[in-house]
Symmetry: C2
Subunit: 338 residues, 2 copies
DNA sequence: CTGTTAGCGCGTTCAA
DNA sequence: TTGAACGCGCTAACAG
């Protein structure tokens, strides 16, 4: 049988409230503190979080709703967030939305019933309605990596359009003009496409319709299929560089060019996102826009914690971080050709 | 403010216990049942899990401790398990051990304090001591994917040695003799190495020391580095096939051979584990031993659920599943050469 | 600083 | 079947 606070009382002869106060960080006479500490050890006492929560109306648990946990980026972000939560003494219930809006809505409901103190979410839906039930229950919500357009919510994101623009401008500076883009139609994918278009427009470069390939969701096969299509273009039209909007996509792209015996950066230049395993291991090393994943995680956790403390009104926080270019060898400098 | 069972009482005029009984599936007069159902809807009532748990001593939450959530296999397994738990109405607290035994031990303690009803664990440590505090608290534990040697625990695993042996025998049947292996020194890696060795021995083939490459943990770079080393061997000694013990490893292997312009299966044959994205997308398609991931997940959940129900003594369950060979085009048949 | 008292929301006795 | 009372383990208010 588990020991309760009453057992500690019997062991020490102190009142319940004294013990409770000590357990919650209050001041107690040194001699009593010692008694309590000894009893706690002796009885292997752990406070019952449920009884505690019944009164405090806090579960010390937060919910993490992620669009897809089986991807590399998501898995890693989950890892960082989980670590931070644990360090803060919070438990984390992770819910995988599997890129499905309905499951996502279900997940939120589930977390509300579990009475989590707060919710961290990387959304699938671009409509905030699915969060209604959490808001009714007055549960703080922070979105990260993706922000819901127009929503009155705390969020931590990076400037995806700017990052993509930087990447494409890097290509343009090196003499590339025929630049293709492979991206998804959701959140970050779309924003990065915009950055690509901005850069091209700004440089006065046209975008041939066949230079943009996109599917609904970021995936390895998106990169693979897209690249195949690009490489099937008549030689003269072939892009000299491909910008891709995500790590999984890059994986597919690399598979496709390797398969066709196309060399990078000799025949084609590549630029992508995130310094994840493949991008680091491959040769040539991929030139990438590096997202500050740990910072995204820690900012999101920080904001959520702040909101958990402030019962009152705290202004909406919108943190916009930026990605940094990390040079590899996957981009050829065409200017040195002459 | 949240509505409680008392509000339902006020709304319906019934006694608390009547309502409580209905909520827990008991028999109630039809007219009363209707009243209650209406009130529940009207007040948007949800039972308070904490108050409930205080009495029943159940949290309807289980803990999932995973060796490393940022890997593809782990992420996917987490996804499956999470789905099943949600379907069973259970919450899941996921803890990432990050391949670290100390964090793993911490995770278990954390879950015990959270009073989870049960724990699912893919262990890092090969010593069961870290589970002691959960056992003292009488929390059922099921390990999956990996079983702790000698431990008196429910577990769901596949026969890794057999699977590896099947894979290597597949190579041998096709005339390969110079077969190298890249594996990790932990759990599944070691078992798969044994299967490799068994197959080689059984076929009367020697294993040159330089044909085995291993590191502590499965990773992309393990595959990459290992392959580089193998390819650096004098041409005559070069293996005609590589057996690799894990998906991430395969990723690295593929990167390395592509980089060197080595063709598969022309110059070298490959066989690996798991039908995950890369293995499906790449060309040639990888020949792999497919682990029944969903079955591993569902069996583990099933056993845990059974143990949660049976307060009494249930015999230890050890489920051993097997992997199946899925042919791709990554293995060359050397016999047809003649 | 300490002890007493009163619930938090619910499930479970019993009695009717 | 139903209703009243009790208590799960703990914290919060107050009085000492």
């Amino acid at each position: 049988m588990e020991s309760t606070i009453k057992d500690i009382k019997r062991e020490t002869g102190l009142a319940l409230s004294t013990i409770s106060k000590y357990l919650n960080g209050g001041n107690v006479r040194p001699e009593n503190r010692k008694k309590i500490e000894e009893a706690v050890k002796k009885l292997d006492y752990h406070p019952n979080e449920m009884a505690r929560g019944l009164i405090t109306r806090k579960t010390r648990t937060i919910g993490f709703v992620i669009y897809d946990i089986s991807g590399t980026f998501g898995g890693l972000l989950t890892h960082f967030v989980g670590d931070l939560m644990r360090q803060s003494g919070y438990g984390m219930i992770i819910c995988d939305s599997n890129n499905d809006k309905d499951i996502e809505a279900q997940n939120i409901k589930f977390l509300v019933e579990k009475k989590v103190d707060g919710i961290l979410v990387i959304p699938v839906s671009s409509d905030e309605d699915f969060l209604d039930c959490a808001r009714r229950a007055d549960i703080p919500i922070v979105t990260l990596d993706r922000s819901i357009p127009g929503a009155h919510l705390d969020c931590v994101t990076i400037d995806n359009a700017a990052a993509a623009q930087t990447a494409v401008e890097y290509l343009i500076e090196r003499g590339h003009e025929k630049i293709a883009a492979i991206y998804s139609e959701e959140y970050t994918g779309k924003q990065r496409r915009d950055g690509y278009r901005n850069a091209m427009k700004k440089a006065g470069l046209g975008i041939s319709g066949s230079y943009e390939y996109h599917e609904k969701i970021h995936s390895v096969s998106l990169g693979y299929t897209g690249t195949k299509k690009l490489l099937a273009l008549p030689k003269k039209e072939r892009p000299t560089a491909i910008f891709m909007s995500n790590y999984e996509v890059a994986l597919g792209v690399v598979m496709a060019i390797n398969e066709q015996g196309i060399s990078c950066p000799g025949d084609i230049s590549l630029i992508s996102f995130d310094a994840l395993t493949l991008n680091l291991v491959m040769k040539p090393m991929m030139t990438v826009m590096v997202q500050p994943m740990e910072e995204i995680a820690s900012e999101a956790v920080r904001i959520l914690m702040a909101r958990l403390q402030s019962d009152g009104q705290m202004a909406i926080q919108r943190v916009l971080l930026s990605a940094e270019l990390r040079e590899g060898d996957s981009v050829r400098d065409l200017r040195s050709r002459r």
